[in-house]
Structure formats: C-alpha cells, structure tokens
C-alpha cells in the first residue's frame, strides 16, 4: 500500500502512534480481502445505511439554469444524513476486528461525529467525539443527536475552536490511549494509512455513480463535481472515475469575498500538518492560519494528500465558491427541487450552475450532494430573515 501520493501524504507522527498506524494498515490489508467482512459491510450498507443511494436528475434546476443536465448523487439520503457513514461503518468494523473497545473521532459540521456515534451504538463501542466550541454552537442539532446516541461530546476550546483543533485533540487522546482506542478519522486526511482507508470506504459513491449513470444513460457523466474540505466525499466521487473520460472538479470554501476562506488547494502551499504532507493555509513562518467558511465541514486549513497530488497532476481541477454563492445555491435547490442541502455541497452545486450554462444540453454533470441541510437551518434562516 503506497505511503505517498507523489510527494504528498506520508506519516509524520509522534513515535507513540507508529505501532498503531502499522497495526491499522495490517488490519486493513487483511480485512479488505476478507469475504466475511465484505459481506457484512454490504449487508449493513443495504439494510441499515440505505445504500445504494439514488442518482437523481434535477430537471427543474437544470431547466432554470440552462445548458447541461445536472444530476445529484443523493448521499444526503444515507442514514444519518451524510456520506460520512460510509467511512464510519467500514472503520467501525475494522476497529472491532482490531479488538478495540473505544472509538474517538473529530467532527466539524457534526456529520462525522453523528456517523461515529451511530456506529458506536451499533457495534457497542465507548465513543468520544471532539468538536470545536465554535462548531458546537453553530451545529447544535448534531451535538444533541450524538448525545442521544450515547456518545460523549468533548468541547475543544483551543486554537480556532473548529475542525483543525478537534483533530489535534483527537490525536492527543489517541496518543494517550492508543492501546485500547481506534481513532475513527472522518476525512481523507491524516497520516498513512488513513487517507487510503477513507478513500476506499468512500469510493462506493463513485462506483455507484458509474454503474447507475451507465444503466440510465449508457455512459459515465461528462463532469463530476464535489465539495472539498478534507476531501472525503470528493475523493470517494473522483477516485473510481479517474480512469474514465469524466472531467473532475473539486470546490473549496472561498469564505466571504476577499478572505482566504478555507481554500488550501487553491490558495495554500505545501507543508506538514496532522501527520501528512499536503497543501496548507499557512503564514510566512509555517504557522497554520485560521480559516473561515459558512460550512463548518469545509472549514479546514489542510486537505487530503491525494487531492494535493491530483491538483499537481492536473487530473482534477480545484476551484472555490464563496459563502454567498453557496447560500444562493441552497435556496435555488430548495425551491426548484424540494431538497434542503447541507451548506458544504452547496459549494459544489454553485459550481455546477456556473458550468452548466456553458455546456451543451446533451452533456451531463453529476454533483455529489454529500449531506442534508437540517443541521444548517439556524444559520441559513438567520441570514435569510435578518432581524
């Protein structure tokens, strides 16, 4: 299993974590070929998680925008309301195989925290989720959901109090409890082998897009678009499509106009954070910069190392959408299709609307709708109806 994607990736971690990462890689290698594991994973995906998810032709939205057809990969319909469960389910089964009794996770938007809490309940783990104080305030419903599922949510008050600092705290917990605990990392980031593991469990998205797209239209899509924070739904979408002719576009959070946002690929430079070499938003001395985005799930100064390599190779194009564009996409989708999307994939929808206009009517765009918007209602309502 390669430790790097080009010059990116690697495992830059304190020594204490090295044996655990090696154990994880061995466990994952043997499990991915294990027929009993694959069959249990497939059964739970179908009967508990609600897979496969639909590929939906958003014809009203497409008609209003004009140009290419816009299709939505409905990961918002996965149990729990986001694609995060794909990875949490796979890693949960892996943790059980490794004999761990306790799982920990970081969460930004709370979607990965909720997915981990669900798996913790399903498989009987003691579960602890780290979440930045700022995120706990802006994603309150998810905090409640985690608690109802029996998970302890620990507030992170260090640093920027968002996803980056939640990862720091989860890593510190793991360093202290590595013998009993699996760190169920939620995005395609962190030290090897996490980016590979997360990519594998999320690739179900891209595989289903290919199969369903061929069945319905006879071909793969012309363009696939996904939002990129750490990049797990995007890598799950892109990875299986890499050998095909489909153009691939990742959309980062641009924040408010004129800010750095959270666009590490578009506006960052290479460096080392959270155990990986990747693109980072950092200052002149390598200190990590605070990020900001209306979408907490994208609010991260780094990005998965495979995306860094895909950017350099040019196979995937990365761009940004601002807070304002994402919000406008939210309302457009809600009113034309009866779907309330999470603010994270609204960045991808905004990009799809821009691109569709310039494409032919017989071309097709697939957007990964990575989660549903219930968690964002407070934020969106406050902006839509300012007091």
């Amino acid at each position: 299993m390669p430790r790097r994607y080009g010059k990116y990736g690697g495992a830059y971690v304190p020594e204490t974590l090295v044996p655990a990462l090696e154990e994880l890689e061995r466990g994952f290698r043997s499990l991915r070929r294990d027929l009993a594991f694959r069959s249990e994973l497939r059964t739970l995906q179908e009967t508990w998680a609600g897979r496969p998810t639909p590929l939906y032709h958003a014809s009203r939205l497409s008609g209003e925008v004009g140009g290419a057809e816009i299709w939505l990969k409905r990961e918002d319909l996965v149990h729990g309301g986001a694609h995060k469960l794909n990875n949490a389910l796979g890693q949960g089964l892996l943790a059980r195989r490794l004999g761990k009794k306790r799982i920990i996770a970081e969460t930004g938007a709370g979607q990965h925290g909720v997915a981990t809490a669900m798996i913790g309940a399903l498989l009987g783990f003691e579960t602890v989720v780290y979440m930045g104080k700022v995120d706990m305030e802006r994603q309150r419903p998810n905090v409640e959901r985690m608690r109802l599922l029996g998970t302890e949510v620990r507030e992170v008050t260090q640093g920027t109090q968002t996803l980056k600092d939640a990862i720091n705290e989860a890593l510190r917990d793991w360093i202290s409890n590595v013998e009993t605990t699996h760190y169920l990392l939620g995005s395609a980031v962190g030290p090897h082998p996490f980016p590979t593991i997360v990519c594998e469990f999320q690739s179900v998205i891209g595989r289903e897009i290919i199969a369903e797209s061929r069945r319905r239209t006879g071909d793969v899509p012309d363009l696939a678009i996904a939002c990129v924070g750490g990049g797990s739904n995007a890598i799950g979408t892109f990875h299986p499509l890499l050998p095909f002719r489909t153009r691939l576009v990742g959309v980062e959070a641009g924040g408010v106009e004129g800010s750095v946002g959270a666009a590490s690929l578009t506006r960052g430079t290479p460096g080392v954070l959270h155990g990986m070499m990747t693109y980072l938003l950092q200052d002149a001395e390598g200190q990590i910069l605070p990020t900001e985005s209306i979408a907490p799930g994208l609010d991260y100064a780094g990005v998965g190392p495979e995306h860094a390599a895909l950017k350099d190779s040019g196979r995937v194009e990365y761009t940004v959408a601002t807070d304002r564009e994402a919000l406008s996409a939210f309302h457009r989708l809600a009113r034309t299709e009866g779907i309330l999307p999470a603010l994270e994939p609204c960045h991808a929808i905004a990009e799809a609307m821009k691109r569709a206009r310039g494409m032919r009517k017989d071309e097709r765009i697939v957007v990964t709708l990575s989660g549903r918007g219930d968690k964002d209602l407070e934020v969106v309502a406050a902006l839509a109806h300012p007091r």
């Binding site: 020594e15 204490t16 720091n168 360093i175 080392v272 001395e285 390598g286």
Partner: protein
C-alpha cells in the same frame, strides 16, 4: 562550549546523570528568559531545550500548548529565536525543539544552517519519525546540528534498534503513552514507568552502548529522576513542570527550587 551530544556523552562516561530543561521561547521577555537560564546554569542543569512555538503542537499537553499560544500571540518569530540562542548557548549546550512544518516551510537545510551558526547543537522534532529523518540527518556534516530521535513504549525491538542507530547526540525516550506534562487523565499512571521502558533501554544498550538516553514526558519530581536513573537512563528532560512555573512578572524562585531538587536527585543517584 561542547555540543549537547558531547556533554551528555561525557557525563555518561563518568557515570553522571543529566538534566535537560525545556523552556518555550517567547513566553518571557528576552532578558528575563536569559536570567532564568542563568539560574538553571548556576544550579547545575546540563543543557537547555529552547521551544519554538507551532500553532498545532499535537504531542503537547495543556501547559506547553498554552505556552505556544502565548509565544505566538506575543509575536515570537524565527528572528527572535536566532537572536536568543547565541546567548543561551553561551550558558548551556542548547537544542531547539519545534514541529516539522516550521522547518519544512523555511527549508530544512537553511533553517538548520541558521540555528547551527548561532550555536545550537541539536534539534528535537516530535513529529519527525525515523523514516523521514534523513533529510535532517544529511545536513549534519554541513551544519553541525544533531537530529535527536524519539523512541516510545510500544515500539518493537527492530524499530528501537533502527532509532538507536540513527539518532544523533542522544536518544529521547518517551516515558509513557501520552502527551507532554503530568496531567493526562486517561494516560497510564506516570508514577509507574511502563515495563516496556527497561526493554527498550536494554535494546538501545546492545545496539549502541555509548549513546546517552534521556527520559522525558511527565517527568516532574525528584522521585521520577531516581526511578529513571535506577532503570538505567542517563538522565531526564523536564519541560511542562518548569514551564508551568514561569510567569512574565513572577519570581524565578520556584523554577530555581524545582531545578535544585531535580539536580540533587541526580547527584544522589550518581552515588
């Protein structure tokens, strides 16, 4: 001034224990910081680790995290480090401890050259595992700066051997599963060294008999010093316990007292 590695090796040869003190740069004004180093020198501390702050220090407990945040908010930059270390290294053999991205961003060669020229003789980079250490080690001939590697409980014997062969100056043995500092709720009881430590020490001694080994993480009391000396280590690294005693306006007396107790414990264990 001999390098930190030479100093530690000399003390090991003559059976003397060593105490390496860590103080985060920028948490005290420059003159006050140097005054603290003067006091530590007078008491008989063996060497100094100057911490350089990083925004995301994942191996640190609360005390050093707070110190890093404070140093950054006071605007302690690389230039300030370069201004500080010539003075510290006149007093004590000096190492710099910070995270990999600080070096990566500046360039590993250039940053080691800069600190080496200012008298620093070693670097300690907690997120630099042995597999990635060659980019640092390859600079040693040019810069004279040792790359100190860490070993942790849980490392299999082959890995301990690999680390012992490749570390420079000394081996930094992490005392337990956990971050730096004494308070770590679910970590193993710091008063009981994990049984792995003596196994690791034995492995290091067979691989590289003359290499000094210092134990760090959660070391704060004279009884810790005695225990690790009895176990066969050449000394200890104390960071959070010292750092916690520093206040910008406060007295240096508590720092002096703790250092005195620890040095005394070392001398007693020297026999």
């Amino acid at each position: 001034m001999p390098t930190l590695g030479e100093t530690l090796a000399g003390r090991r040869r003559s059976g003397k224990g060593s105490l390496l003190a860590y103080l985060m740069g920028g948490t005290l004004p420059r003159e006050r910081y140097l005054e603290a180093v003067d006091r530590l020198t007078a008491i008989g501390v063996t060497g100094l680790e100057v911490g350089f702050p990083f925004s995301d220090p994942i191996a640190e407990g609360p005390v050093i995290q707070r110190a890093a945040t404070e140093a950054l908010s006071r605007g302690f930059h690389w230039a300030d480090l370069l201004d500080l270390v010539p003075e510290t290294s006149r007093r004590l053999p000096t190492a710099v401890m910070t995270y990999l991205n600080v070096f990566e961003h500046r360039g590993i060669g250039p940053s080691l050259t800069e600190i080496g020229a200012q008298g620093v003789s070693a670097v300690i980079v907690p997120d630099l595992p042995v597999e990635e250490a060659d980019v640092f080690r390859n600079e040693r001939g040019r810069t004279g700066v040792d790359t100190v590697l860490l070993a942790s409980p849980g490392a299999p014997p082959t890995r301990v051997k690999q680390i012992a062969r490749r570390t420079e100056g000394f081996l930094y043995l992490v005392s337990r599963y956990g971050t730096t500092g004494v308070t770590n709720e679910k970590a193993l009881d710091p008063s009981r060294p994990t049984p792995e430590l003596s196994g690791i020490l034995k492995e290091v001694r067979t691989t590289r008999p003359r290499l000094p080994v210092l134990v760090g993480f959660g070391v704060s009391r004279p009884e810790d010093v005695r225990r690790y000396r009895t176990l066969g280590a050449d000394g200890v690294v104390v960071g959070s316990a010292f750092q916690a005693l520093l206040g910008p306006g406060g007295s240096l007396k508590p720092l002096e007292d703790l250092a005195g107790d620890l040095v005394h414990a070392l001398e007693v264990s020297d026999g």
